[in-house]
Assembly symmetry: C2
Homo-oligomer: 341 residues x 2
DNA sequence: TTGAAAGCGCTAACAC
DNA sequence: GTGTTAGCGCTTTCAA
């Protein structure tokens, strides 16, 4: 496989042609200071003449770094790729890496064998750090990477005491803001459609709902909370139907995702209720596979670009410093109104 | 950045612990023949004890190969990721690589700078070959890679005399089959909605339409062919409206993609025509960003798994052999009926 | 079947 | 400023 073409020029040949030592050529291609401008030009001319490109394996071996990071997607996330959430994150990560010599590599992990291969790839020194897109509590990958001492940053967290460095949106705060907005709008009976509560993100959003009510001195009624089996529209529809049955006079709903909210919307419309006049609906602008056919009018917007950039910043820091303690960043969300009411 | 943890064991330490030479350890980790079973076990024990993982940079440098290939997506393809087309291809590629030591790396290329970086990454020896998902005629990347002598395989082709190795579906044949099916079904007036004809794939599909009519001894009427500005539903709708205006009695349509077909469908329904009773619609199951809200009932299905596997096969062959001439493979499509009529 | 030795092409430390 | 040198950790002959 892929034997290097015989004619590939080496740094040594560049040095010979330019009439300088190897060290000088190395300094030039690495933009290191301390090279006379005229010398630098001579070297660059030789590089251009020979069509020289550095051998990255040699550079890694000698330099102890790969100048590459992996962005890992585990199976359930694949479909996210087409979603705005995902592309925004990847764009942001790519942009943040643009001015560095670091190459972004996406890898897909489906099986344990692939998990293992990725860890060996990283431990083998082909990447300097790993960005994790997924937050599945059962996934052993984050811990495998952490145990191997590899700089790792996760998007979101798996629990309240996450042990791997992560960047997360302020899910509780966002939910709190959404519900407070509903309260300020004069809504009296506010239901909640949560995601599956074995996911930390769902717990946080539910907590925000509760806190907003408590802060306003309202009672938190269990009958106003329905847990979705997942984050799909179908779950949202079912949950909304249940809420209407329990509380026919319900006039607002906070849903834990945009897809759940879209499901709620369709269930409401089916009963003839007008949105948002009769019932207001707010959901998170989220990253779940099924993009809602009809998004809710008001959403809690996550700062995706900032999340991506922050992940890169933390990763680069962990790559530079010697092993630091894990850290985390929680970024504020924003309430975006697309309704007039 | 990422200095290798000081404690990382090397092959030499494994050899010392196992009481053998370095060459022997190398043979063991590479599953090379000619090592006594007992020796092999001893080495494996030492590997396990030390938690040894090969340094991939050193291996690449000495072995002249990276054991990795890149699958490149250029900007317009991003949204494809969520589409069945894309995930099927990636799955197939991943599966085909499973039993090899080759790691699959996805890279996103947006700008010329990123294009350049990718080429240097590949020329630098970090990947042994490149798989290209996109077939944009203006994209200089395929030629940059070919010029650099890097094994490269494209999905689809940019023109009739493509100079880079590629794997493509039999677009003309698929279109021919679809139109022949319509003719056999007794349809008399068959329209065609093409994609933008500056794309080779669109030309091929139009050619198939023409050939089928000619083979059946039917006249090919220009007024029955409408070119879509792109592959979107909106274009399909516009084209269908135009066709109906020109030929109110039209009773079948071949569209160059599933999205165009979906657009045609919606335009037909808007006029009260029944599908497929009044008008039959066939499109290609395609890979365009906008997934149709309503797919056509009969489609030309592309052999995605086989395309992905074939791309890998060709790439691996190009990686093994010395520079071979470019080759291509055209894979048959399949007509899938989801209608009863 | 195994060990020893010669690189692979680069970076970085150290001289000058 | 610039040249020289000593590795980085592995694969791969070549002997034994």
């Amino acid at each position: 496989m892929g034997r290097r073409s015989p004619g590939t020029p080496t740094l040594e040949e560049v040095a010979a042609l330019a009439g300088v030592g190897r060290g000088t050529v190395s300094r030039v291609i690495n933009n290191a200071a301390g090279v006379r401008a005229s010398t630098r030009r001579a070297v660059q001319r030789a590089i251009a003449e020979l069509g020289y490109v550095p051998n990255l394996a040699a550079r890694s071996l000698a330099g102890h770094r790969a100048d590459a990071v992996a962005l890992v997607m585990t199976e359930p996330d694949w479909r996210l790729f087409g979603e705005p959430f995902f592309t925004e994150i990847v764009h942001a990560v790519g942009d943040a890496l643009t001015d560095t010599p670091v190459q972004l590599l996406l890898t897909l992990v489906r099986t344990d064998a692939e998990r293992q291969r990725l860890v060996e790839y990283a431990r083998g020194g082909r990447v300097d750090g790993v960005l994790l897109m997924s937050v599945h509590a059962e996934d052993p990958l984050p811990d495998m990477l952490a145990k191997a001492g590899l700089p790792t940053v996760m998007l979101g967290r798996r629990s309240g005491d996450e042990s791997v460095t992560y960047v997360d949106a302020d899910n509780a705060g966002g939910a709190r803001g959404a519900v407070t907005h509903l309260l300020n709008g004069g809504r009296g009976t506010i239901g909640a459609i949560t995601g599956p509560l074995d996911m930390y993100v769902a717990q946080c959003r539910l907590r925000g709902y509760r806190e907003a009510l408590e802060q306003a001195g309202r009672a938190v009624r269990d009958s106003l909370v329905v847990e979705g089996d997942d984050f799909t529209e179908e779950s949202g529809r079912r949950a909304m139907t249940e809420l209407i049955a329990r509380h026919p006079g319900i006039d607002a709903v906070f849903a834990a995702s945009d897809t759940l909210a879209a499901g709620a919307l369709s269930a409401l419309r089916a009963t003839g209720r007008r949105v948002p006049q009769d019932v207001a609906v707010i959901g998170f602008d989220d990253f779940h596979p099924a993009r809602p056919a009809e998004p809710p009018l008001t959403t809690v917007r996550q700062p995706l670009g900032e999340i991506g950039r922050t992940m890169v910043r933390l990763l680069l820091e962990e790559m530079e410093d010697s092993p630091v303690a894990w850290r985390h960043v929680i970024l504020r969300t924003e309430l975006v109104l697309r309704e007039s009411a």
